[in-house]
């Protein structure tokens, strides 16, 4: 199921709002997250990095059009900068690279498959892109390779679990509420239901 129509206003506002919700929720985690980062350093950063790619993967999984992951990540960055992020610069660059990362994974499957392994791969590509970016931005080349390897592994795990599995389970739970009925995911779910209802008649 591939849809190549460009994003309409409704989808864009929805993408931006989903990102905004994640942004608000992140505030709950800020303190917790900073503690983890301060104590465990880059590895701690790695473990929560998947959270950043949840919004675009949720959006891509719901809307299923090419470019959604990238645009969602950029819109998320834009919304965060509008909201006054103390990391506006990093957010902007990371938005671009992470978005490309996640988008690339979905493109590899020609935007036809949004099954769990694909989403996990998208999450891992996203966190990988994050790793490469901050490696240069924050000078992680100065660390011993042991710690950077640990960090990379932590990020990939976080990408697969938080961003991949987490996003899917949230979007599926959201699908059950009925608010996605007008989006690709909701339509697919409803088609499935209609088919199931039809079965006994045949």
């Amino acid at each position: 199921m591939k849809n190549t129509k460009p994003l309409n206003l409704r989808e864009i506002v929805v993408i931006a709002s989903i990102s905004a919700v994640f942004g608000v929720l992140y505030l709950l985690w800020v303190f917790f997250g900073q503690l983890i980062q301060g104590i465990f350093g880059p590895v701690g950063h790695g473990l929560i990095s998947g959270f950043w790619i949840m919004a675009p993967i949720v959006c891509a999984y719901i809307i299923r059009k090419p470019g959604v992951a990238l645009i969602a990540e950029l819109v998320a960055a834009g919304t965060e900068i509008l909201a006054g992020s103390v990391n506006a610069g990093a957010v902007l660059i990371l938005g671009l690279t992470q978005g490309f990362g996640a988008e690339l994974a979905l493109a590899l499957f020609l935007y036809r498959s949004y099954r769990l392994p694909v989403l996990m791969l998208a999450g891992m590509f996203g966190t990988l892109a994050n790793f490469i970016t901050i490696y240069f931005m924050y000078g992680y080349s100065q660390y011993s390779s042991i710690i950077t390897t640990f960090m990379l592994v932590a990020m990939l795990v976080s990408g697969a679990i938080l961003a991949g599995w987490g996003s899917k389970s949230i979007a599926d739970a959201l699908g059950r509420t009925g608010v996605l009925d007008n989006f690709a995911l909701g339509k697919i779910n409803r088609q499935k239901r209609v088919k199931k209802d039809d079965l006994p008649h045949h």
């Binding site: 309409n8 739970a173 509420t177 608010v179 007008n182 339509k187």
Partner: protein
Amino acid sequence: MTYLTIEDLNVSYPFQQQPVLKGVNIQISKGEKVLILGPSGGGKSTLALTLNGIIPKSIEAEMTGTIMVDGENPQELSFREISERLGILFQDPETQFCMLTVEDEILFGLENLRFSRMEMKARLEKSLDIVGLTNWRKAQIRELSGGMKQKLALACLLSMDPEVFILDEPTANLDPASTDEIFQLFIALSEKLNKTLIFIEHKLDYLLPYLERVIVLGQEGKVIADGAPRDIFNHRFPTLIEEGIWVPQICRYAKNMEKQGMKWRHFPLTIEEWKRELESEAGAFQVPQMQKKQVLSNNKTPLLQVENVSFSYQKQPVLQNISFSISNGDFVALLGSNGAGKSTLSKTLMKLLKPEKGEIYLDNKPLSRLKAYEHMQKVGFVFQNPEHQFICDTVEQELSYGFKIRGWRKEKWQPGLNELLAQFHLTAQRQNNPFSLSQGQKRRLSVATMLTNDQQLLILDEPTFGQDYANMKVIMNLLKELNQNGKTILMVTHDMELVSEYANKVILLHDREIAYQGDVISFFKKEELLHKASLKVPFSYSLQNLAKVGKEAAIL
């Protein structure tokens, strides 16, 4: 001259068996003032959105039939072209704006229409002036009250100067004072600018004299009545009631009088008309009395006592020395305008905020010494937005949750669960996701979840908010039933009709203090106090008063 033509319109949404609109034929001329009535989910808003082409251009739907706006098919016009002809004022003040300040929001629409800077400035200033927001030009939208937000939304439309204004329940989320102000604006709009106005509303008592035509959509999405208001409310009355559609209070009373043998020469739509008709017949007929409610007695045991509670927020006092008490079996209405401190008060009752001074007693135990668990066993809170309280995947799980945290086993709670489902008409929805329920079902579920612990006191924050007439009735009757079975109810509300029909006690919060606590009838008599708190006595009460005055005059 016909401006809007709808011919044989059918609309159905994907995956839905029933069409929302079925064979609808309507023609509306320039300058007409039309009211569209119908049950909720009955296609009123769908009709509005097909007129400006959003359906099917942005919202997917299957549509057949013809629509013409000013001789053009809205589907073939761009959003810009259609917005020059037709504007919609929506229900929710929070979701109509995309900019941050008042000025920028009005400019957003004008920029869409590609006006020059000069033209924009002139239109901006004029529209602000009409709605009375000139002094708020640079204000942040989020700092405005709900009523002001709706005024701003209206100013946006005015600046774009369309021929047709569709007003889609714009006052549904507003308190009575703001509703009045908005209605005054509509009346001015109708008289000065003579625009075509299409109201989609359900609490229109005071606007009725200005309407020329009523169109009623039925349950099945068909037009079931179309004509002058007086005709429709008089001759189609039983149909409207059957379909669960809103009917003006005064018409209900007028019909009631007919049952007693009253023959109206001129079926009344306003108090003045009612008065004129009755003058000749004074004393001959009884205006139906308000149901007699149990009078407050003093010997009942107090359940909740609030003693000298004060609270301030960022050094601004919000509650000052609040004291009141609620007895077992009371049905209390907590009134007060926006910002009077109602929500702070409920938060202290929920133990989400701790009073700076004073103490709250529940069953004679200080709240501060009650454990959260004990507190929840005694009091149930129903939030304004039912969705906020949902935590499970199905209705059944949602209801059994309360039993489960008490450590009950399934055999023990199953009967109670079934009983609640039946009582709240949710048995058919037991496996549905709570979020996917209708507005009325969600509200019922949120009340039901607060009864699983057999709570004595139920505190509800505007339980009828966003509900249509039929759903409102169901909820309120459920509450009445609960009350009659011994539950104590405290309900925050704006709706004075509800107060007069259901409550037996009123607590008025005004200017951070308790301005009144006592029975309902004495409350309605305190005209000055009501005026100060921008409250209006309910329509039914004015009618009865009128009758009394009439009788006295007849005796003299």
